[in-house]
Symmetry: C2
Subunit: 355 residues, 2 copies
Amino acid sequence: MDLDLLARGTGEWLRGSGTDADIVISSRLRVARNLADFPFCMRSSEIDRREIERTLKQCAETVPMGRAMHYLEVSRLSSLDRQFLVERHLISREHAAAEGCRGAAVSDDEDVSLMFNEEDHLRIQVIKSGFSLKECWDLVDQIDTQIEARVRYAFDEEFGYLTACPTNVGTGVRASVMLHLPALAMTKQIDKVFRALQKIHLAVRGLYGEGSQASGDFYQISNNVTLGRTERELIGDIEVVVPQIVDYERRVRKELVKESKQTIHDRVSRAYGILRAAQTITSEETMHLLSSVRLGVNLKLIEDVPIGTVNDLFIHTQPAHLQKLQGQELDSEKRNVARAAYLRLRLSNPDSSRN
Amino acid sequence: MDLDLLARGTGEWLRGSGTDADIVISSRLRVARNLADFPFCMRSSEIDRREIERTLKQCAETVPMGRAMHYLEVSRLSSLDRQFLVERHLISREHAAAEGCRGAAVSDDEDVSLMFNEEDHLRIQVIKSGFSLKECWDLVDQIDTQIEARVRYAFDEEFGYLTACPTNVGTGVRASVMLHLPALAMTKQIDKVFRALQKIHLAVRGLYGEGSQASGDFYQISNNVTLGRTERELIGDIEVVVPQIVDYERRVRKELVKESKQTIHDRVSRAYGILRAAQTITSEETMHLLSSVRLGVNLKLIEDVPIGTVNDLFIHTQPAHLQKLQGQELDSEKRNVARAAYLRLRLSNPDSSRN
């Protein structure tokens, strides 16, 4: 797989299409699986790991997934390439940082990705734009079922699927949606949402998962519990709560426009102006300003940028993406200059394709 | 004189031409004169004032000034029109705020203006773009000499010309230059300039004279003393010191570009971006950002705005100008919206004429 080409392109999940795509950026579903005949990764030898990867890779190659899959030997990638895959949500930060034999497989459209020898032997992830957890689950389930027909998973009648970390035992399912909630953040009502989600055992994280800041007003909501409930129940929990948050965000946006349209218009317009003018800009400021621009596009206060371009820029202005696009490693100061140049280019002609 | 038409146009002194016009916006020279046969304004009756104005107006009409003069009955103007003339530097704030019979005469090009019944019976002002005090003085002197041939000025062999305020006694001359010193302000070196000027009895004021803030990094330097020295000596003092300040500002600009070009470029570029994007903006922020843009144009970091347009915008975005341009009185909030719209219009097509 040509990662330079991948860097210039964009994943299906960033297209800004699908249900409630103004607020729900993407839906993601992953399952954690382990082979019964091998110890968990943390206890496995390098020989075990090679055998685990060989087995799963071979198996995945024979499973008809309806899309071309590309295999990556993560252990052989440069740290820049690994960081790039993390920014692209194709592998986890842990998988990038780990040592020893490990791999990944990514579909052309970037909707399906597999990780071999991450925390668990196998992780299957499907990510799609908009609010589409059911669609994600159907595809994950289909791939999982076909792989299960070819290998023996570690499974316990009482507990369900066994995983390296007890929080994943049972279904091994983590369902999550990435929400863009600038109005709730701006009006400080986001804390109410957090408290409500905590009560029903849902977790809130930033754009890059556990421990990452909610920069750009992105909030990833996912289930904490995997045990004792069926996959459909877990997904159902999120499917019930997300439309409520979406409604809340929409209501606050409407109020903002009604009560202080000038202020909002000024804010989003200035953010757009700065992004098109800056000569050097940090990632943090970029996320912050892009969040306002995204709100502006959704409120039709900014008319000449497609939402897909804005979604894209959140990812393409991340450090590893910038360096891939420039074809060289850059220190933080040079990245800030390159980021500003890239933003000016993309936003001066926002309808243009990335390629 | 059609003040609405005047509001849409611009004075010669804003054209950004002339010596050192990158830093010296304009040079101004005025003399204060009183008629020997009348008491000073502060002690004169309304009948006196009418007679003073009639005499001086008639006299000025017969003096060949080489340019068409327009007479304004300041006492009959709306407060908006009076404020507009102050913003345009054609009459003083005191003249606008005073009561009773008083007038002004303004030339087509706005380089010559006369005030009748201001603090003194007559004030003759010439203002020109760039560093051109000598030229200003020659014109003031020529007009003054011709008026003096027709009326009897209050003059004392020992003290010279007598004026209402003792600070003007002697020559009655105030010479001033308006400097734009963004680099000295940015690097906090402007205080050194202030201290040096104080020592040689020169005053530093803001864009709108006494008591006004130095917003937009504009500094007006003028003589404090009018007594005991000839006009040429007073002008000479300023003519010696201004090139030194100009050199200092240029040197600091060069250093800034050399040592932190990226930072400066980012600053001026963002300022330009915000001015072209804002939906509401205060006068203060406008001055601040325009100052950066002006620096950017002079450093050739911004290429598509003529310096005359930037000079112009400092004046045309003032409250009374905005209201004249909109053809209606506006409260502060509406002015901020109108100001932003006007800036977007002028800067989206910066080469376009104002008219």
